[in-house]
Point group: C3
Chain length 450, copies 3
């Protein structure tokens, strides 16, 4: 594996266009589908992902209790429109699935303009855009349109028709496990419940899928678990099903909003100083761009569930510009033009960097803790003394020996020494090979850390 | 109870003049009395306070051992003057009790000007003011006068007469307990040993008395204990008498110097991060004025005793401009003109705000700690999704759920979330009512905190 | 003992020239000797030190295992030169022992200029200076000369001769113990392995020797252990021999590079907040000069061994300008002209200040922890009350009482109170004498600190 920290910003810019193009193509392929927290569109999305990665699709029946919630009725929609008294279709689901409030109950009715207005959502501040709205847990129906169109509607009687169904069925999600040497897991989770919106979250889906593709071909210390799940109810469902096994998760990242060319934003886990928090901050801070690190807050994506106090898992959230901080958020303007291949590739590379560092971060124990070992005997040290400067690599050997007491990871040592992580990791590998360090398995260092 | 944090600075300014007037009236009533650490003036002061609040007066006999001290002889004074050889009275206790060094032994003598000077205290830097001096623990006699008067004295033989007594008697103090739901106590203590000085400390006495009046009419979680005690020896006496029970004190405030219109100054308890320290800092910091927070130091008022290392109680000290930082401190210029009703009212309101927040601050336990509960089911959350901004109140619900793990108080949550305390408290109350939170009694969260 | 903190910078400047002169004289005496990590020159150095202080000389035979190392062969050298084909001696060990790579194996050979160059070390950036080089653990031979001289050498056949020996023998070091009241020790260690170099480290040797001389005449709480040892292998040897007893070391300082008139540089122990770290930082920071405090790093002098993770002793390193930060470092320009008597005296005084404060720093327990004691009864406090300002000394009494809870040393109290250490120490001594404080022996406060 290439070192997590050796790929500089200029190199990032040279990442082969191929990866970005492939992610954008996947996004174009999935864009037209009407996804939701349940239903055929979501299943279709998962099936198309199966053509790229060997995802399992899991289904949980309507009515199943999952903690404080239960799996809702499955929502499916075939068509929807509004027609005026002249029979002209003024809004049609065929043109954009955003036109229907997601999870709308079926309706077929004649309504006055006043009545219609009560069921129409617009964005007065962006009068040409159509908003995205949902009504998952309160049975209702509604349409979304541009504010300009709403203003242009005449006093008339309108026919509204939503050919949807809310019936017992299933909630579906995708799961992919890439086994590593250890049963300890890295969790990557992304939400799949949004319909024709690109940055939110076809970008997350595409990056997660290609991250899985990449990791398939790597030697892995950790086991990687990818979740492609509906937001909130999907995470709650997965946690309910896997309640007894979540302690395997040693590091986790939510992947979302990865297609806009803004600074990366890492939101820490509730723990606040979990290893994933330390690694993500280290990788993003080394980068020259003004990347942002935010403390945990209980609003956002599925870290809300993974970081609820009863689980408190080490799961952070990595996005570019966060939700609500770009005008196109949850509108029809979050379309294929908003997201470019190069940004997707850069997002993917950043995930890879972080995970490479997670893979390489170790705890070692110095097996010769009393005084320094005679490094020259192991071929690890220059033998001519008296020179003015010791090389970085030789310093790294000394740091790795001095702090490998079971309490400091390689990243801790890199940060204490202000040496590069890769320099420390290389030195530690040499010392390990020379028999001077022993790698600690997780329980040992974990016990010593408590 | 009105929320501790909803009364803004402009509202503070509109507090009914009635309270301020009543406190100033009490001050005028008590001003002429010659108080000391013992004696009739102190008892008379307590008796006048009994007309307002149902104070108990406790008396401890001279000679009683209290830790390293013992109760001194009781001091009483009837009259005192200095006369010149022409029989003119040049200084008279009748005009101001500050003219006699507090605790002066009786004396009747003819003295030269040189001899007199050895027993006269003045303030050269404020030549028109009379200083306040005491000699509690070293038997002596003395007078205080203006420096200008001292300078004008002719070489003459003076007759000095102090008609005082130092005899076995009692030390007296006042105590008032307002029972609350809990046996845990909030202590409010103020010193009553100063004679005709207004800011120090008729202001503290008046504010404490009216705080008791106010709390009498409130539902109280805590039991409130008010002490009206002579400085130092009074606090030591009370602690000696109550040594076995002081652990009931969960929060405490010394009330002093509350009549000058300067910034509030909160001096932290020796613990430094006690809940009362956190609350007082929060309330004062939210206020726009440049209020000051100081670390504990072992000089000052009776926090010196409450915070001695063998007790180390969570007792802070709330004043306006601190002792020694205004020129009138311990002089005849600390009179009725220095203190105005409005400032007293503002001081009282600030005590009330702090105590309201102490009352409202709770530890809750999330009873659905795994994932978020489905708030919509409890009528606690808007059901239409997709909007750009979540309201503060909804954020507060999520914060209260996420951090109610027995380790975070509502104030901790307010500070973590940067939401207003009252918003968090309201959200927590709703969650509690919905059965999602359980209130922890003190021992539970205390145990978890250790 | 004079208080550690009462000697100000101007006073430092007035330290009797005698001490500085004596140290410079010792340096001149030792300068010509060819020292190394073993051999006659090092023994001769120790013997000359014995004329000043009652040092023991200890010897460990070649081949002895000391942790990961073993005692090397003993190196001795009698003569060495390079001659050209005209029989002219162009470099001679007699002129400077730096001309031979320290630990060079014996050689007698005729070599071409090209071959000679492979064995010659120069400093192109300082073409008139001769570098200092060693080859302890890789058997080799070599010469050092000025770069200008190397450039002037003609194409010729040169005769090289090094009359040295590498044979079974001993490693020698000096040790001096000055017993104190306690078996707890302060360690002072300095390296003696460098040949004709003054600042590095005849300055450290001279200061350490005169520090021992000074301490011989003082009442000592602690036992002082001085080590005059070859760098690295000497410290490792001493630790191996004394492995079971190192826990007696409560404070330690490496003494090195003390002759250059730069700011003092204190490098903290690996522990980082050991008492010696706190004291050294306090003493150096009080001084007006821009003294530097550095965190531990595992490169430097013998703190590398004392602070290896298996020992982790509270040993810091006190130098002036650190190694590598002055151009003359490890060159022939580090000679008698570089170091002046006054700087040596100042360095000695700074060691004395630090150790005086270490001696005076105590933990006391307040024997009247409940409320303040009545200080007036003990003659410790002014009895006339009401004055505006309390004196520093009276504040110090209150601070010493309030924080003497077994968790705060006198230095902790000085730092909490912002009062001078000497003021706090004086107040505590008075309180101790009055029976109000009990001095805690080390185990008591240590146990309470854990």
């Amino acid at each position: 594996m290439k070192s997590a920290t050796t790929l500089s910003q200029p190199e990032l810019r040279q990442v082969p266009a191929r990866e970005g193009e492939a992610m954008h193509e996947l996004m174009r392929n999935l864009y037209p589908i009407c996804r939701s927290i349940t239903g055929a569109g979501t299943v279709e999305t998962l099936k198309r992902l199966q053509k790229i990665i060997p995802l399992s699709i899991l289904t949980i029946p309507t009515g199943t209790k999952v903690f404080d919630w239960e799996i809702p009725k499955e929502w499916n929609i075939r068509a929807a429109w509004i027609r005026n008294s002249r029979g002209e279709t003024i809004v049609d689901f065929k043109n954009s699935n955003l036109h229907v409030v997601n999870y709308s109950a079926p309706v077929k009715a004649m309504v006055s303009l006043d009545e219609l207005r009560k069921h129409v959502h617009t964005l007065p501040e962006h009068p040409d855009w159509v908003p995205y709205r949902t009504s998952y847990y309160h049975e209702d129906w509604g349409f979304c349109m541009s504010h300009n169109q709403l203003k242009s509607l005449e006093d008339d009687t309108y026919e509204v028709w939503i050919d949807s169904s809310l019936e017992a069925g299933h909630l579906s999600y995708g799961e992919l496990v890439l086994k590593g040497k250890s049963q300890e897991e890295v969790l990557i989770s992304t939400h799949i419940c949004h319909p024709s919106l690109c940055n939110d979250n076809l970008s997350g889906i595409s990056v997660a899928a290609h991250l899985a593709l990449h990791l398939q071909n790597q030697k892995r210390k950790y086991t990687y678990r990818f979740l492609f799940i509906p937001g909130t109810i999907g995470a709650i469902t997965w946690l309910a099903v896997n309640e007894l096994h979540v302690r395997r998760i040693k590091h986790g990242l939510i992947a979302a909003l990865l297609g806009l060319d803004g600074a990366f934003t890492y939101k820490k886990s509730r723990i606040g100083d979990a290893e994933i928090d330390q690694v993500a901050e280290y990788v993003l801070t080394k980068d020259n761009r003004a990347n942002k690190i935010k403390n945990f807050e209980p609003y956002g994506y599925d870290e809300r569930q993974f970081c609820s106090p009863g689980f408190n898992l080490p799961v952070g959230c990595l996005t570019r510009t966060p939700y609500g901080e770009y005008p196109e958020y949850h509108t029809s303007a979050d379309n294929l033009d908003l997201v470019d291949p190069h940004t997707l590739a850069e997002s993917l590379r950043t995930f890879i960097h972080i995970l490479e560092l997670v893979e390489q971060n170790r705890y070692y124990l110095n097996l010769r803790p009393k005084c320094e070992p005679q490094l020259g005997r192991y071929g690890l040290y220059s033998s001519l003394g008296g020179e003015n400067n010791v090389k970085e690599y030789q310093l790294a050997l000394l740091w790795a020996l001095n702090l490998s007491d079971g309490k400091h990871s390689l990243l801790d040592i890199a940060q204490s020494s202000s040496l590069d992580f890769s320099t420390i990791a290389t030195a530690a590998a040499k010392l390990h090979h020379a028999g001077l360090l022993r790698e600690l398995s997780a329980p040992e260092h974990a016990i010593e850390r408590v």
